[in-house]
């Protein structure tokens, strides 16, 4: 080793250093060029991650966490604000959309009776029951989450409202084209029955009122309460308008019977 260093003259040392440094220098220059090109073309990559976060906020993960907080009240010391469609906290909020009043959970709401505590909560956009109006022999799939995808396939339940049987108000909605019978020669009226069938129970409601309101007044009539197990169903009105409906039909129904299934 000592001989090697002795024999190495100044020039060869310089050559070795040059051979070592040149690739590093080239790599650094290339990286800088690459960074400048990428930054000028697509901007800050972090921005795309933010966009991804915003566009996927209604993923199963987020909604299931919210649900868990609402129903199970994991941390009873902490108040968990419920994300209600139409409220500013809702990821899918946009002005002019239907919404409910926000409620806060004090962690005391139990997941229904003993028989309901073992329920696996549905994921966002999954079918969890059947919405039925016996008067019209109408049966529609009931989805968890009032997303566009859900109301395209059936009836959607607003995420901020309670599942049937969990003590609070259940808010459902769908496209007006799906419930045109409600405004037919035999319209839906007070006293008609609405049934919701799930795998943990069958819930029967009796219609109390059917009202038509302007979109601006919507929030006054669709109010979620943890003490009131009513069903609120709404859709765009007039029912025969394919688009641009400026009113909402709101049906309020009272829970009259519950048939808990053995699960």
């Amino acid at each position: 080793m000592r001989n090697f260093f002795k024999s190495a003259n100044k020039n060869s040392v310089r050559e070795i250093v040059f051979n070592l440094c040149m690739p590093i220098f080239l790599a650094c220059i290339s990286f800088v060029i690459l960074f400048i090109v990428i930054y000028s073309q697509i901007g800050n990559p972090g921005r795309y991650i933010e966009i991804l976060k915003v566009t996927t906020q209604s993923s199963d993960q987020v909604d299931l966490l919210t649900l868990k907080d609402i129903y199970e009240g994991e941390d009873s010391s902490e108040k968990v604000p419920v994300v209600v469609p139409g409220e500013k906290d809702d990821p899918g909020y946009s002005s002019g959309e239907e919404g409910n009043s926000g409620i806060e959970n004090d962690g005391s709401s139990e997941a229904g009776g003993d028989g309901l505590s073992s329920i696996v909560f549905p994921a966002y956009n999954t079918r969890y029951g059947i919405f039925e109006v016996p008067k019209y022999n109408m049966k529609q799939d009931l989805f968890f989450g009032a997303s566009y995808a859900a109301v395209e396939k059936g009836v959607g339940q607003s995420m901020g409202s309670y599942l049937p049987g969990f003590g609070g108000t259940t808010v459902l909605c769908t496209h007006n084209s799906r419930v045109r019978q409600f405004d037919s020669s035999n319209p839906i009226t007070a006293g008609d029955e609405i049934k919701i069938t799930t795998n943990y129970g069958v819930y029967s409601y009796i219609v109390e009122s059917v009202i038509i309101v302007d979109t601006s007044d919507f929030n006054k009539y669709v109010v979620v309460s943890k003490d009131n197990n009513d069903l609120i169903f709404y859709t765009c009105y007039p029912l025969h308008t394919p688009s641009g409906a400026t009113q909402r039909m709101i049906i309020t129904a009272k829970l009259v019977s519950v048939d808990i299934l053995d699960i």
């Binding site: 051979n19 690739p23 080239l26 220059i29 990286f31 060029i33 996927t56 696996v120 079918r127």
Partner: protein, 275 residues
């Protein structure tokens, strides 16, 4: 003056050559990995807790959605096992990659059908068939890697057609830049070769930098948009990419180092050889 311009051109050509080589390596490695079913399956198996997560989610879903039909909970309990989940994930990956829409593992739907027939002999065959189809879709959705069926066709299109043009352009550019370096480097053959190898080792170093960056990337922050199982999967995929880039980079750098050692040894031996 001419000498300075020549050196500047040499540096620019070397930098461009490094960039082209780096892109070639990245394209080659990504193409090899992203179009191989073995890679996706391997990631699923290596990702800590991924299969377990999917297994638990699917198990819950089978029971929840199965009981919607009115059948008893016992029909759906203990149907799914960890091994079956693993087989289902592999099957879904194959389905997406081959474009086939095969039903989910038949063993599972058959077992479900058998149990349902035992418990509820009065149930019609048609109803059972419909139900099996429904459950098949539920299982398929649960065991699928999120986003994968949407993203894979684009990846496949890119690596099968667009990357062909890219490879052609890069090959032409690399050959052209090799010549540019060769003619501007000047001196003897060894010096010209040395300049080319500088670019090769620079590309190798860039691959190593990239792998270090990938290793350092904070999964929790970057993959925050995804669900728990997908996050586990993407983290493992990131580690796989980082490892492969590190290996590719080390190989390139080692090749150059070996060349320089070989040249040094050769020179030494030549000097010692008696006349």
């Amino acid at each position: 003056m001419i000498r300075y311009i020549k050196n500047f051109v040499l540096i620019v050509a070397s930098v461009l050559l490094s960039l082209c080589l780096f892109f070639s390596v990245v394209c080659m490695v990504s193409g090899m990995l992203l179009t191989s079913p073995g890679f996706y399956k391997g990631v699923a198996q290596r990702a800590p807790g991924y299969i377990q997560e999917v297994y638990e989610k699917t198990q819950k879903d089978i029971i929840f959605k199965g009981t919607l039909s009115g059948l008893d909970k016992s029909v759906f309990e203990n149907l799914l096992t960890y091994d079956i989940t693993e087989a289902l994930i592999n099957e879904r990956i194959d389905n997406v990659m081959t474009g086939a829409d095969m039903p989910s593992l038949k063993v599972l739907t058959d077992a479900m059908r058998e149990k349902a027939e035992e418990n509820f002999p009065q149930v019609e065959q048609q109803a059972l068939d419909d139900f099996a189809d429904f459950m098949d879709n539920v299982i398929a959705e649960d065991t699928e890697i999120s986003f994968f069926p949407d993203i894979y066709p684009q990846l496949d299109a890119f690596f099968s057609s667009a990357s062909l043009y890219l490879v052609m352009i890069l090959s032409v550019a690399i050959v052209g830049l090799f010549f540019a370096v060769w003619f501007t480097a000047g001196g003897n053959v060894q010096n010209r070769l040395r300049w080319m190898l500088f670019s090769v080792s620079a590309a190798g170093l860039m691959c190593i930098f990239l792998s270090v960056l990938l290793f350092l990337l904070n999964d929790a922050a970057v993959f925050n948009f995804s669900t728990q199982d997908l996050r586990i999967y993407l983290s493992e995929m990131k580690i796989c990419f980082a490892s492969v880039f590190a290996v590719a980079g080390i190989v390139l750098v080692l090749l150059v180092v070996i060349y320089f050692i070989a040249v040094a040894v050769y020179k030494k031996l030549k000097r010692k050889r008696p006349l």
